[in-house]
């Protein structure tokens, strides 16, 4: 009987489920608090619209912000052939293929559904990696598409976005509403302070949880990508090459792309500057260990 060598990482699934559950509970509590005030409803609509827009236009927005060009098969035949074969192996629709002209070695995938997705690589990554390593990176990015990471991360971060929005701009609306509607009682002020403090707390906690979720999804994409190509070690060597390079890149170049960091292959922020708790990508050693496990599963005899 045919069997599959693919084995889910149960620990990873549990941790991801735990973070998701934590975010869900946090957001329910937050919604219950917001429900008490008009500020909440107003902010809710605005932030939902922003999040929806970001999700719906994610592919074109991301490509534009990296000033990446969509390339046709005749412009990049090797890259297209590689992606064609990976998509045939994984039985998924072929995403649009784009190249960004920058020396920063990186790659990202974006798009609201597998049918509306794009994979982008930089000229820097194509120069540094050999064909097998580049294929490993592409498989990692295609796994992000298959896992619908843009959708998951947008949903996960949308309420955090709302909390941040209220924390930052809520004061004005709070003043406006309490001044306009609650002229006859003095409840507006204190009620708003409660909302403000809750928002601050929700923002802080959700920030940590979302970063955790992002790291777990990177590990997932590493696993799925490694199973797709059958060569986890090539992805490992690509990671080692790129991580070494990333640390040497001056910060000036990196600042532009910080907002997009969650969808990058390797984070465009030097590791020393932020604690592991706040980083969007797991530490290199953890990713290498994760891939070594896949490699062992693939080479088991029998």
């Amino acid at each position: 009987m045919a069997r599959s060598r693919f084995r889910g990482d149960r620990g990873l699934t549990f941790r991801m489920g735990g973070v998701g559950l934590g975010l869900g509970v946090l957001y329910l509590v937050f919604a219950a608090v917001l429900y008490q005030t008009p500020v909440g409803a107003f902010g809710f609509v605005i932030v939902l619209a922003i999040a929806w827009g970001q999700w719906y236009f994610s592919d074109s927005l991301a490509l534009k912000s990296m000033s990446a060009q969509v390339v046709e098969p005749h412009q990049a035949p090797e890259l297209h052939a590689m992606i064609d074969r990976l998509c045939a192996l994984a039985d998924m629709p072929k995403p649009r293929v784009a190249i960004a002209v920058t020396d920063m070695p990186n790659a990202f995938a974006t798009g609201r559904t597998p049918n509306h997705s794009a994979v982008c690589v930089t000229t820097g990554i194509m120069q540094r990696l050999d064909a097998d390593e580049l294929e490993g990176v592409l498989a990692h990015e295609l796994s992000h598409v298959a896992n619908r990471d843009v959708t998951v991360m947008t949903v996960a971060s949308s309420i955090g976005l709302l909390a941040g929005f209220i924390t930052r701009y809520g004061m004005y609306f709070g003043g406006m509403f309490s001044g306009g509607r609650d002229r006859n009682n003095n409840n507006g002020g204190p009620a708003f302070i409660v909302v403000f403090l809750v928002s601050l707390l929700v923002y802080a906690v959700s920030f940590v949880l979302i970063r955790g979720l992002s790291r777990y999804r990177e590990l997932s994409a590493d696993r799925s990508g490694a199973y797709m190509t059958g060569r986890p070690s090539k992805l490992s060597s690509a990671l080692v090459k790129i991580s070494g390079d990333m640390a040497r890149i001056p910060n000036k170049d990196l600042r532009d792309s910080q907002a997009m960091s969650a969808f990058f292959f390797a984070p465009a922020i030097s590791r020393e500057s932020i604690g592991a708790l706040f980083s969007t990508h797991p530490p290199l050693q953890q990713r290498l260990d994760n891939l070594a496990k896949v490699s062992a599963e693939l080479s088991e005899q029998g």
């Binding site: 699934t13 064609d84 192996l89 294929e135 619908r148 199973y227 059958g230």
Partner: protein
């Protein structure tokens, strides 16, 4: 892939559908009536997996195939990191060829490498004397025609003509963007 697999990031490579391949002999009869002749050779193409487990499975497959009378098997690699096991039958017997191809892909699937199978080809000669491949996509369970012309061009009109000929015999891939070119495949160069 289910909704929860997506949410939990567990997308896994799909398994190959092996049994549809047995519909090939029927399609060959239809194609013979249009002047195509089967050369008696065909290939299984699959992804190289690191480690020795896949090589062991491949060696097993080679042993099984070469033990059947009239079959020879060769192995080649392409520049994309895929292996091709090519079976050639001296008697050009298509059902024997399909059995051999099935032996190759099922021994890989039994070893757990079902997800590494990319495609399988059955090679013909066109009425004009050019090579022609009927390609099976394992993950989709569908076939498509591939008619290589000189200089990495494809004879699309011939391919579409064959689609009409065999569409009653085998499932044809409806999405034309999945009709991947396989330049330099064994027997099709």
């Amino acid at each position: 892939m289910g909704f929860f697999d997506s949410i939990l990031g567990r997308s896994k490579p799909p398994e190959a559908d092996l049994d549809v391949l047995f519909a090939v002999p029927q399609a060959v009869i239809s194609m013979q009536m249009e002047g195509f002749t089967p050369t008696g050779s065909g290939s299984v193409c699959f992804r190289d997996v690191e480690g020795q487990a896949d090589d062991t499975a491949m060696a097993d497959a080679e042993k099984i195939i070469s033990s059947s009378p009239g079959s020879t098997v060769t192995r080649s690699d392409d520049r994309f990191g895929f292996h091709w096991l090519t079976v050639t039958r001296t008697d050009a017997d298509v059902s024997g060829l399909v059995t051999d191809l099935h032996a190759a892909n099922s021994s890989l699937a039994d070893a757990g490498f079902s997800s590494a199978l990319l495609c399988s080809t059955v090679v013909f000669t066109t009425p004009a004397g050019k090579p022609f491949g009927l390609v099976y996509l394992y993950k989709r369970g569908t076939f498509y025609p591939f008619a290589p012309d000189t200089g990495e061009r494809r004879d699309n009109s011939l391919e579409l003509q064959v689609r009409g000929v065999v569409s009653a015999d085998v499932p044809i891939e409806p999405d034309l963007t999945k009709w991947l070119a396989i330049w330099g495949a064994p027997g099709l160069a």
